[in-house]
């Protein structure tokens, strides 16, 4: 459906607040986009009566909101709740809607670990790293019976968000677990990068020799790290204000 989508409902001055990612949604299209990109957050953020009330009051979508309310009271699941809105607004074309339905099905019928991991992914995409860490840790705890590549993926993702939070030691530990589960290139690169930026060089090289890493991968890691070490970052005009912005941003992302 390339081209232009007409917005008949426009925006409202009274937004709906998606709590888990701290975002105000001002239009039906923003809500649909949010649900389309991050279906794992629908259950926590979207499936409630205040959302259906908002749709009815702000956009005159009383008909579809009543259908959604019926799905809610019948405990019919995420698909039964959200798909009527997608259909009513014609937001996705046929193939897109089918793909989205498959995604929702995975979410609804997948294991607890799958759901938790998908929720962690959605939180990470929205830069809610602190909350994502909790989700991945819960996913890891309940992933005992899962396939190795699923468990490895959970630890890799956990390592990645811990890196974003500058929790290097914990990130190294997460990547080590991922690498132990399956020696995948992603887990290896994550581990090496976390070690390289957080440990003294001799410790890094010691671990490299233990693992036995190819020269080309080491060069790749160096290429990523060197620009960070040599970059000249200009000082802000008002360092206190800049620090305050960084602190606020960090707290938002870390959820503290």
């Amino acid at each position: 459906m390339n081209g232009y989508l007409l917005s008949r409902t426009g925006t409202t001055e009274h937004p709906y607040y998606a709590k888990s990612v701290s975002v105000n949604l001002y239009s039906v299209e923003e809500l649909l986009y949010f649900c389309w990109k991050d279906p794992a957050l629908i259950e926590a953020d979207i499936m409630n009566l205040s959302l259906t009330g908002w749709l009815a009051e702000e956009f005159g979508l009383g008909g579809v909101s009543r259908t959604m309310e019926r799905a809610l009271s019948a405990n019919a699941g995420t698909s039964a709740f959200i798909l009527p809105l997608f259909r009513e607004m014609g937001y996705l074309d046929g193939p897109e809607l089918s793909a989205y339905m498959r995604k929702l099905e995975r979410l609804e019928h997948g294991s607890a670990a799958t759901r938790l991991r998908m929720t962690g992914d959605a939180l990470a995409r929205n830069r809610r790293y602190g909350a994502a860490v909790s989700m991945y840790q819960e996913a890891a705890n309940s992933a005992g019976g899962e396939r190795p590549d699923m468990r490895r993926q959970i630890y890799c993702n956990l390592g990645a968000v811990l890196m974003q939070l500058l929790e290097y030691d914990e990130a190294v530990a997460a990547y080590e677990k991922a690498y132990r589960i399956s020696k995948s290139p992603r887990a290896l690169r994550g581990l090496l990068y976390a070690l390289r930026v957080s440990k003294p060089k001799d410790q890094y090289l010691f671990r490299v020799s233990e693992i036995g890493v190819r020269e080309s991968i080491l060069r790749e890691i160096e290429e990523k790290v060197v620009p960070l070490e040599t970059a000249e970052i200009p000082l802000p005009d008002d360092p206190a204000a800049a620090l305050s912005v960084i602190r606020r941003e960090y707290h938002r992302e870390a959820g503290v």
């Binding site: 081209g3 232009y4 925006t11 949604l25 239009s27 923003e30």
Partner: protein, 419 residues
């Protein structure tokens, strides 16, 4: 006093000196002029306003309160609207749209409705001075009162005359209609001309001639009758309408004789434009054809300009400029989301022409965002019948992708129809 209280169709004629209001009586199936005082046949009221501590006063009230020195009358409302002149009263400045809104509200009050905005389905305003700038201010004033654009029509004077003429029984138009505009110093003759080459018939209002009128009665009658005889030579039309305050039956003996020979019916009167505006509202809201004819006036746009959009799953052309409407009536806007595109592509479809023209509009500097995460406001206004201005604003996507509010403007020359 109007009996109907819902779905009312109203016509207003605004002129520099006096104005009139009419409404459509569904039972009688006719446009009815509203008197300024119940039980009289006094229909015209001065186009004036006055502000006192009690509020706005309009029309004849202005003279009453003005004489009691309760305020200074505001005249030339239309001229103020055309030139954008504001008025400051006791430290408060009122724009031309505020003034016109106050005046129109007063005029609508003559209908005796408790809530005119709720009761009126369409208010149609015409003026002999209609222009792009005046239409813009009238539209703003109507919005201020509470009317949506879809509940308003702004027919030009020729169009109002067309609607009035063809809303009458066929015996009053079947053999042609003429309009004589008689001012203090000159006389102008116009005629409705039907182009029967294809259906529906296009009707135009063509100027037949103009003549100077002397001031003495005898000479005036002579000049009028000579000019009328020349313009109607070999013609016997259904109706001749005489308007303007320059015509008086007491001097026009020869003239009336000439006109009686030239037409089956001769009418004088000043309410045909207000009633014509009312019939324009009827045609608009009830999608009524005027006996298979449409008015092809000089302001009528001949090109549809739109953009292909997906609307709730269905893709089709969203018209932003519609062929068939007067250019000064056209101001449309829409909000769209970009999906797999970085620029805009409009389609122009001229009347009587099969080929469409694509009009591309680039948006340099628009931030890169994911698909469906850029909301654009598109506003299309026309500067005359053949030129449109498209303004696009980046509204972003809420807190997910903040707006830059950057604007892009493209002036478009609309393609010629039927080439």
């Amino acid at each position: 006093m109007v009996n109907e209280t819902a779905g009312l169709l109203v016509g207003i004629e605004l002129n520099s000196d006096v104005s009139q209001i009419s409404y459509y009586d569904r039972k009688a199936k006719e446009a009815v002029s509203v008197p300024t005082k119940a039980g009289t046949n006094l229909y015209a009221f001065p186009t004036r306003l006055l502000k006192t501590e009690d509020g706005w006063h309009f029309g004849f009230e202005v003279e009453y309160f003005g004489s009691k020195k309760k305020g200074i009358p505001i005249r030339n409302l239309l001229e103020k609207a055309e030139t954008g002149v504001s008025v400051t009263i006791r430290g408060v400045t009122y724009g031309p749209d505020d003034l016109l809104a106050a005046f129109l509200e007063g005029a609508l009050g003559l209908l005796g409705l408790p809530d005119p905005v709720r009761s009126i389905a369409c208010v149609s305003v015409t003026s002999r001075r209609m222009s792009g700038s005046l239409a813009h201010v009238i539209r703003k004033a109507l919005r201020k009162i509470g009317f949506e654009d879809s509940a308003c029509a702004l027919p030009g004077p020729g169009e109002s005359f067309f609607y009035y003429s063809y809303s009458q029984s066929p015996e009053l138009w079947a053999r042609g209609v003429m309009l004589l505009e008689c001012g203090e110093e000159n006389l102008r003759c116009l005629r409705l001309i039907e182009n029967r080459a294809r259906k529906p018939y296009a009707v135009t209002l063509e100027k037949i001639g103009e003549a100077a009128l002397p001031q003495t009665s005898e000479e005036r009658d002579l000049a009028f009758s000579r000019a009328a005889a020349e313009w109607t030579r070999g013609v016997r039309c259904s109706s001749i309408y005489i308007t303007g305050n320059g015509f008086k039956a007491d001097w026009a003996h020869r003239s009336v004789e000439v006109l009686r020979n030239a037409a089956e019916h001769v009418f004088t009167g000043e309410n045909l434009f207000a009633k014509g505006a009312c019939w324009a509202a009827v045609a608009k809201m009830e999608r009524r054809s005027m006996s298979g004819r449409f008015f092809d006036g000089p302001d009528r746009v001949r090109v549809t300009l739109g953009i292909d959009v997906a609307d709730r799953g269905k893709t089709g052309l969203l018209p932003l400029i519609r062929a068939g409407e007067n250019w000064y009536n056209m101001e449309d806007r829409c909000e769209i989301l970009l999906n797999g595109r970085t620029g805009l592509l409009f389609t122009a479809i001229p009347e009587e022409r099969e080929k469409h023209t694509n009009i591309r509009m680039d948006l340099p500097g628009l931030p890169e965002r994911p698909d469906r995460a850029t909301r654009l406001l598109i506003v299309v206004r026309m500067s005359d019948r053949d030129h449109a201005r498209i303004t696009v604003e980046d509204l972003g996507f809420g807190e997910l992708f903040p707006a830059t509010h950057k604007k892009w403007i493209k002036d478009v020359v609309l393609p010629e129809p039927g080439v």
